[in-house]
């Protein structure tokens, strides 16, 4: 069968081979490469103009590599543009959100997959609603409540909503992983005298490390890039995150693109580094979220 089919498909290809097949192959490749260049160009352009002065950016050297490298743009973005502060804020918000999301979603998943009770399936479906609820739904009430409890203009105003919105995805990923851990382990630990808490923290949690990485990356990307909550819930300079900070900086340096480019590179490089080392895992987490949602 297999041999036959290969023969036939080869026969087909041979019929079509020759100039027309080659031409179409070349055309396909040209489109693929052109689109790749279009995807890479903005990032390339950002990094090159972050190292140029106005004379180069606005002059003859619009898209070439910098002739002299202006690292001072980075220094200015960091100090005058306060990117150091925004970076720290973004980092703190991301790390705290990741910790909360991981802990809450691992615990909830444990309760819904390993503990025995009647409504656990329904509860899981209830959490999965979170995959489709847009953040717009929450913005007015959250703003009102946060201002009432005097939490506007603070880091919790960001990391609490971020972790809540990352929960559904966290539970979805954790459920997949926890299903793969054999029940025998729970039973062995139980026979050794472990209670539910000991089973969770000593047996299950250490085995969840791959899920932790996936959930962590996903949550990181959501928090690091989020704009709407970050703009609305925070108007204080001291707690701005990178996206809001860059918006401000770009407005401030309208006539000088170098420092803005540097600020954007500072915000983008961590993401790109994570992506280079974990591209497969990141892509898989996006696929997992979509297939279920």
């Amino acid at each position: 069968m297999t041999i036959d089919s290969e023969k036939i498909s080869r026969g087909r290809l041979n019929l079509k081979s020759g100039s027309s097949a080659k031409v179409s192959q070349v055309l396909v490749y040209s489109v693929l490469i052109l689109w790749a260049l279009l995807c890479l160009f903005p990032v390339y352009w950002m990094i090159t103009f972050s190292l140029k002065d106005n004379a180069q950016i606005f002059g003859a050297n619009v898209i070439g590599l910098p002739q002299t490298w202006f690292w001072s743009n980075y220094a200015r973005a960091m100090t005058l543009g306060r990117m150091d502060l925004y970076f720290l804020n973004s980092f703190l918000v991301a790390v705290i959100s990741i910790v909360i999301t991981l802990l809450a979603s691992c615990m909830a998943t444990y309760a819904m997959t390993r503990l025995v009770w009647k409504w656990r399936g329904t509860m899981n479906k209830f959490f999965m609603l979170g995959l489709t609820i847009p953040i717009h739904a929450a913005i007015v009430p959250l703003y009102v409540v946060l201002s009432k409890v005097h939490l506007l203009n603070s880091l919790p105003a960001l990391f609490i909503p971020y972790s809540a919105f990352a929960l559904a995805m966290g539970i979805l990923i954790c459920t997949g992983f926890m299903g793969g851990i054999p029940y025998d382990l729970d039973e062995a630990a139980f026979l050794d005298g472990c209670g539910v808490w000991a089973i969770f923290f000593r047996v299950i949690a250490p085995l969840m490390v791959p899920a932790v990485a996936t959930v962590g990356i996903y949550t990181f990307l959501q928090c690091w890039n989020e704009l709407m909550f970050a703009t609305v819930f925070n108007s204080s300079e001291a707690y701005k995150t990178l996206p809001v900070g860059i918006q401000g900086l770009a407005g401030q340096y309208l006539r000088e693109w170098g420092p803005t480019g540097a600020a954007m590179a500072i915000a983008t490089i961590p993401t790109l580094l994570v992506y280079i080392f974990m591209s497969k895992r990141i892509q898989d987490s996006f696929i997992a979220g979509a297939v279920k949602g």
Partner: protein, 291 residues
């Protein structure tokens, strides 16, 4: 062991952190938004019950211009479904045929999805810049001076110029989903098709595309609901301007909330957005079932 695992206090304690966050930040606000949408309220005064008047005003008032904003986001949805998704599908089909460099192409195409929309918006702002932007510089270099314009400032081009980065950014996302789908088509099906003498085009049309329909459905739903909710890039590029030419429901909502202090009306838009997202998801599901 079953008894220990069914111990109520433990179940509640394990669920508590997630359940509390989820209900407090997602579920309760939906209920509250719906409630606010029946009031005339500026955030400070006592809210005044006005029943459905916000909804009536939303659809009839010219000064709020909700319908034009909705039309813009539906137009984006249309472009997304008619241009972005077919292109993503084409990429996915080509890349899944063991082309050399397959992984590299996928990784490059997906990269824009991960970059902050503020960064992408600011970069496109600079690409579109009337004086120094790459686009106009390139047009001038080609001797097409008359084609240059202030792309985002001109009422006739602003909407198109604001859509392009959005469509560009998410091609890779849809491509990735579809690629994963195509890779999941069983080998036997493809072999059977080849045995029947299918060409590549026929294989795509009669075997692969019908097989990955569930994923195409997800992509269409994401593209449409994503367009309805679109905010970040529009906010950075034009914030709805010039003169509301690129307004979408989300920019309108923030405008009403924080510039005009109309909390009731802002909530009404939020509720409409949720309803529209669910409605369109339902319709798309039905359309895919019909076929």
């Amino acid at each position: 062991m079953r008894r220990t695992l069914g111990y109520r206090v433990n179940i509640i304690l394990f669920l508590l952190p997630a359940l509390f966050l989820f209900v407090a930040v997602l579920i309760a606000p939906i209920v509250m938004s719906t409630y606010y949408s029946f009031f005339n309220w500026n955030g400070l005064s006592t809210p005044k019950w006005i029943a459905f008047k916000n909804y009536v005003e939303l659809f009839t008032s010219k000064s709020i211009s909700f319908l034009p904003a909705l039309k813009n986001s539906l137009l984006l949805a249309l472009f997304s479904v008619l241009i972005q998704l077919p292109f993503a599908l084409w990429l996915a089909l080509k890349l899944s045929k063991h082309l050399p460099g397959e992984r590299a192409f996928i990784s490059i195409y997906f990269m824009p999805v991960l970059i902050s929309t503020v960064v992408i918006g600011q970069l496109w702002l600079k690409i579109y810049n009337p004086d120094y932007g790459v686009l106009n510089v390139a047009l001038r270099a080609m001797g097409l001076e008359s084609w240059t314009r202030s792309w985002l400032g001109d009422k006739t081009t602003a909407l198109g110029a604001a859509f392009i980065p959005t469509l560009w950014q998410y091609v890779g996302y849809h491509m990735l989903l579809m690629y994963a789908g195509v890779k999941g088509v069983p080998r036997e099906l493809l072999e059977a098709g080849m045995l029947d003498g299918c060409t590549e085009g026929q294989l795509n049309r009669h075997i692969i595309i019908p097989y990955i329909k569930p994923i195409l459905r997800v992509s269409v739903i994401f593209a449409v609901t994503g367009s309805l909710k679109s905010f970040d890039l529009i906010y950075v590029l034009t914030n709805g301007g010039p003169v509301h030419a690129t307004e979408v429901p989300s920019t309108l909502m923030l405008n009403l909330l924080f510039l005009r202090n109309r909390y009731g009306m802002g909530s009404t838009i939020a509720v409409m957005l949720i309803l529209l997202c669910f409605l369109f998801a339902l319709l798309i599901n039905l359309a895919f079932k019909e076929e």
